[in-house]
């Protein structure tokens, strides 16, 4: 799966904005987006928030988890445990990238947040690789990993599946099946 597709899916998440225009409720196929009044926060999908921000019609409020203390806590916990900790948003990587690229002025301590999220990402991907390695080297048949996000899964998806296919082919050599004569 393309990272661009994952980013597209991430844009469906809701985020709070503070518009500076007013508009009545709009009725879209995906749902209704509440009346916009200047100065009053309203929840909209990320794609709309970014669009409005680029046209300078709103101010984006960072989600609750996008805070240095919370992220530091998550990072510490991630480093302590061998398994994956539950993280506040399934699309933390994409949302961080999108929000920090477009509205870094609305988010306090943007650089620190970027570094913290990158640390969390690196730790989780390293754990994933370790787990994939032990899965293959011990030739186990079954593994279960909780609390993984789509982006992390996509980093190993093609490599792991192809390696497992090759392993299956090589392992089936061990059975003395007779190939077709021709």
């Amino acid at each position: 799966m393309d990272p661009a597709e994952v980013e597209f899916l991430a844009e469906k998440e809701m985020v709070k904005i503070i518009p500076n225009f007013s508009l009545d409720k709009i009725y879209l196929i995906g749902g209704d987006l509440g009346p916009f009044n200047p100065g009053l926060p309203v929840e909209v999908p990320v794609w709309l928030a970014l669009n409005l921000k680029q046209r300078q019609k709103c101010r984006i409020v960072p989600p609750e988890w996008m805070d240095t203390d919370k992220l530091e806590e998550i990072r510490e916990q991630e480093r302590k445990l061998d398994t994956f900790t539950p993280i506040p948003s399934l699309y933390y990587m994409e949302l961080t990238k999108l929000l920090l690229n477009h509205s870094a002025d609305n988010i306090p301590k943007a650089d620190e947040i970027r570094t913290l999220v990158k640390d969390i990402w690196d730790t989780r991907v390293a754990k994933l690789r370790l787990s994939a390695d032990s899965f293959i080297s011990q030739q186990e048949a079954h593994a279960q990993l909780d609390n993984l996000t789509l982006m992390e899964i996509n980093t190993t998806r093609s490599f792991l599946l192809d390696s497992l296919n090759y392993m299956y082919k090589l392992r089936s050599n061990l059975q003395p099946g007779r190939s077709q004569d021709y």
Binding site: P3, W121, Q139, N154, T155, F159, K169, N173, S179
Partner: protein, 185 residues
């Protein structure tokens, strides 16, 4: 989700080859040392070093895999194939000791594929060969994974040189993906 107009056919499973797979076609050009068990009249021109018109019984010559596979028969009246160096006892112990350090590209770029095809020739060491190939792949897995995920902005040609064709195809698939991800962060 790949929108390619050309999907390459992957190499075949175990001892079968895929007819349309480019890897299998190139692999079948590898030469194997063989010994003829019966005479081949008027085919002396195939053997460069012989002066006679026919190839007498018991000649040692090198044949490509596709020819050897076609001529080989269980009753062994035509041809007997010897294992190439890489699949013999000495090399098997090397692979058993430490598969990571071996330069698989130099040993014949299609180590895994050719190994699977060698199992056709009913050598008594078949189970050990199959096992060694599998264990080598597993042993080198970690190294291949690391090199593919960390390589996007460094020159790793030294590492890549030591990989077999199968491992290289794994690596390039992941490299492309990692390039895209790194651009995000």
């Amino acid at each position: 989700m790949d929108l390619q107009s050309y999907m390459p056919v992957p190499p075949g499973i175990r001892m079968e080859e895929n007819f349309f797979s480019l890897d299998d076609i190139l692999l079948s050009h590898e030469r194997l040392p063989c010994r003829t068990e019966s005479a081949f009249p008027r085919l002396g021109f195939l053997e460069k070093s012989s002066e006679t018109r026919d190839i007498p019984e018991g000649t040692k010559m090198e044949m490509p895999l596709w020819l050897a596979k076609g001529l080989y028969e269980r009753k062994r009246q035509v041809l007997s194939v010897e294992l190439p160096k890489v699949y013999r006892e000495e090399w098997r112990t090397v692979f058993g000791a430490d598969p990571i350090v071996v330069d698989l590209h130099k040993m014949g770029p299609y180590y895994y594929g050719l190994g699977s095809q060698m199992l056709h020739f009913d050598s008594p060491e078949n189970p050990e060969i199959a096992n060694t190939i599998l264990q080598t792949f597993i042993g080198r897995f970690r190294r291949t994974m690391d090199s593919s995920q960390n390589a996007y902005n460094e020159d790793t040609s030294a590492l890549v040189e030591r990989l077999d064709c199968l491992e290289r195809s794994l690596k390039w698939v992941t490299c492309m993906y990692v390039c895209v991800i790194e651009r995000l962060v």
